[in-house]
Structure formats: structure tokens, C-alpha cells
Amino acid sequence: MVQAEYTIKLPTFEGPFDLLFHLIKKAELDIWSISIAEITDQYLAYLHSMKELNLEIASEFLVMAATLLRLKSKLLLPRSPKNLDQDEDEELFEINTAEELFLRLEEYRLFKEMSVYLRQQEEEQQKIYLRSTGGQKIMVLNRQESVYTIWEGANHLSDIMLRFAEATKTDAYNPAFSAVDDFIIADKSNYIEMKLLQMKRPLPMSDFITVDGLWEVIITFISLLEMTRQSKVMLLQERIFGPILVVLKENEGLKEEQGG
């Protein structure tokens, strides 16, 4: 009950290095003069207080705890007598592992300080307001520019889509089939169906192309595709670039006739 009166505020740490660094600073020590045993105890004490407060402890903190304990135990273990003559080597090895930790801490400290510098810069810079037209800028396509500009510097598909939408508005953008009205295709489809019914046999696609020109070919082809989709006709082609034969599907008799 009384506890509820207190608000306990533990500083949050970005990671084990951050915590270690904090402990070293608190002890007013230099990284190179810390005692592994002491820092390990303090580190574990902090983790304990976190546990008592039911705070979640990230796995990285536990890994560091294990590392510290390993370093500490190495320092505590008596050296075996047979290694006495290799005392110096042994010592060097011990220092090396602790040194590795110090080096890592030192490196972390440099970047930690740099992040403080960046924070100051951030605060300063945020006080300066720049001219901005607001909203998302969309690159306008000039005549000299290629469509490639649409992709340039775009980080998201949505950027590209926005720019593309803009480009289709400004340029004389002409989708290939915008003029293919539904009724033209319906018209052609009717014609194809009537002719097939009349002739009562499969006909090559070329028979339905009544006018010269590419447009007529396109319309005929689209109509046939649409009719195929609707299962009205079947398209047969025996070899590549061979004539495309159009078979009316509703009349099975036609096929048999063809077969016989």
C-alpha cells in the first residue's frame, strides 16, 4: 500500500554496454581501471532490481551477465602450479579477455558520445524551419526526360504509382486499348458467332477480318479472346504461325463434322 506512493524510475539502457558504461560512470572510474569483479557484482545487482520490479530483461543483458561471470571466475580461480613457469603468458591471457571487454566498452563509449553529439545537432537543426511546399512532391516529366525519371529516387511502390498517375495526366498518355469500346467488341463477337452458325464449320480467324488495317486485326483478336473466355468458341492452332481456327463451342456437331 505504502509502496504505491513511490514511483520508482530506473534509467533505461539501450543494451548491456550502455548499462556497464553507466555503472562505470557512476563509480567515476575510467574504463581501463575497473575491476571485473566489482563491475560484475554491480551489473548483477542491477539485473536483480529489474527482476524485482518485474521488468523484462532482454536476452542481451543476460548474455553479458554470463560473460562477466565467466571473466570473474577466471580471475578467482587459482592458477594451477604446473602453469607457474608460464605465469606471464597466463597473465597476458587473462588480461586479454578482460581487455577485450574494455576495448568493446571503449568503442561503445566513442559512439555513445557521438550519439549525444548527434542529439545536440538534431535539437539545433529542428529549430530551423525551411521552406516547404508541403505534401508529397511529384516529379513532373519534361519532354527531355525519359520515363525513367518516374523510378528515380522512389523508395516505395506508392511513390512510383503517384508519379505514374501524374505522368498519365500531364503527358499525352494513350493507353493502347482505350478506344476499344465494349460495344465494338460485342459487335464483332456477334458477327463472328453469326458467321460460324451460318457456315456450320470451323473458320480461320482471317475470315472474320472484314476491313484492312491493324485496328481490325486487333479488334477481331480481342473479340475472339473474349469469346474464348466466355466459352463460346475454341481456338485451334496446329503449328506456330499457322492459321488460327475458330470453332463454335455450342454446336458439338460442327466438331464431329470437322473430324470426319
Binding site: E14, P16, R104, Y108
Partner: protein, 204 residues
């Protein structure tokens, strides 16, 4: 075009541009030398200051930009009540500091220095366009490499990467230091390149 008109043109260009304007861009527009252009910008800077105007010209991300004075920030915020851009997290700043000095750098390298996983932080920095993926490191797994962007310089009001304070030599690990220097040099090249692109896009 007399000099006075040139200076006014510089002012107008800096006023209009939303991005830093490179000095050679100004020089080309005015058909003057880069030295002359720099002199004009310098004068404009002084003019604004001595006339006690609300605007200033400053150098950032390899170019010049016009902005408001920092001391006016409280009033500007009051007037526009815009969503004040949220500050970066401490984790993000740590990661950025590492990338800025060690670029190009992999996620593992960043994590090993920070001692914590940093995927999430990097994702956010990518989203904010403060860093970019610059390629893959040769070797096992071909991990992605991260670099800072021109936006990074703009965000922190830095002229160029070499303007970052030098990392204090910590102990006698000279080799590590040397490596930092070369890495930063490489990164600078990358940055200049992309700044070029930026300026191009303004002119379009």
C-alpha cells in the same frame, strides 16, 4: 547582369529551393566562377545578419540553404502548430553514429558495437531515409551494407561527413582508427554523388 542583381538572384534561388543548393549550381545559373558565387553567398549571409532579418543562409549537406533563425522556433511552432517532427530514439542515434563513421557497415557490425539487436532501429532509419542500403558485403551470407544519406546531413545540419567531430582515439588501437578514416573517405564519395542527384532533381 550586375553584381547586385546576381546577389538578389542568389537570394531568390535559396528562398525558393526546398533542398540545399550547390555552389556550382549557383555559379552555372549566374555564369560566374565558383569563387564569385561563394563570395555572393557570403555577402548575402552577412546582409541577412546585419539587417537583423528572420532568415539565415547556412551550409548543409554540401550546399546552401535558407532557413529561419533558431530563436524564432517557438513562435513559428505557435503559428503553424505543425506536427513537430519527433526526435530520434537513443537507439536510433547510436546506430546512426556507428553508420556515419563506419560506413559502409553491416547490421552485424552495428550490433556488435551496440551489444544489442538493431534490426528494428535500422528499419526505422531506412523509413526515415536517414540511411540507405548501399550494397552487399562480399563474404558469407553477403550481408547488406548501410550508408548514411544526404538527408542524414540535412537532418543534423551537417555540411558534409568530414565535418563530423573526429572519433577520439581510445587507447592505442591505431589500426581501427586508420580503418575509420578510409571508410569515411569512401562514404564521402557516395554522398557527393547522391547530392548531385538531389540537386538535379531540383532543377527539373
Amino acid at each position: 547582369m550586375d553584381r547586385d542583381l546576381q546577389k538578389r538572384t542568389v537570394e531568390a534561388l535559396l528562398f525558393l529551393s526546398e533542398e540545399p543548393v550547390k555552389i556550382d549550381k549557383l555559379a552555372t545559373v549566374l555564369s560566374i566562377s565558383i569563387d564569385e558565387a561563394e563570395a555572393l553567398v557570403g555577402e548575402l549571409k552577412n546582409d541577412l545578419a546585419s539587417a537583423r532579418r528572420g532568415l539565415q543562409v547556412f551550409e548543409v549537406a554540401g550546399g546552401y540553404q535558407m532557413g529561419t533563425l533558431p530563436e524564432l522556433a517557438p513562435y513559428i511552432e505557435k503559428a503553424f502548430s505543425e506536427d513537430v517532427s519527433s526526435n530520434l530514439s537513443t537507439a536510433a542515434l547510436e546506430a546512426l553514429a556507428i553508420i556515419a563513421y563506419k560506413q559502409p557497415v553491416t547490421r552485424i557490425e552495428i550490433e556488435s558495437i551496440r551489444g544489442v539487436r538493431s534490426e528494428h532501429v535500422l528499419e526505422n532509419l531506412l523509413k526515415r531515409k536517414l540511411i540507405k542500403i548501399s550494397g552487399r558485403k562480399e563474404g558469407p551470407g553477403r550481408p547488406l551494407l548501410y550508408n548514411t544519406t544526404p538527408d542524414f546531413l540535412k537532418y543534423f545540419g551537417l555540411k558534409e561527413l568530414s565535418n563530423l567531430p573526429s572519433l577520439e582515439p581510445g587507447g592505442d588501437n591505431l589500426t581501427a582508427q586508420e580503418k575509420d578514416v578510409t571508410d569515411t573517405d569512401n562514404a564521402e564519395e557516395v554522398i557527393t554523388e547522391s547530392t548531385d542527384n538531389n540537386i538535379n532533381s531540383i532543377s527539373n
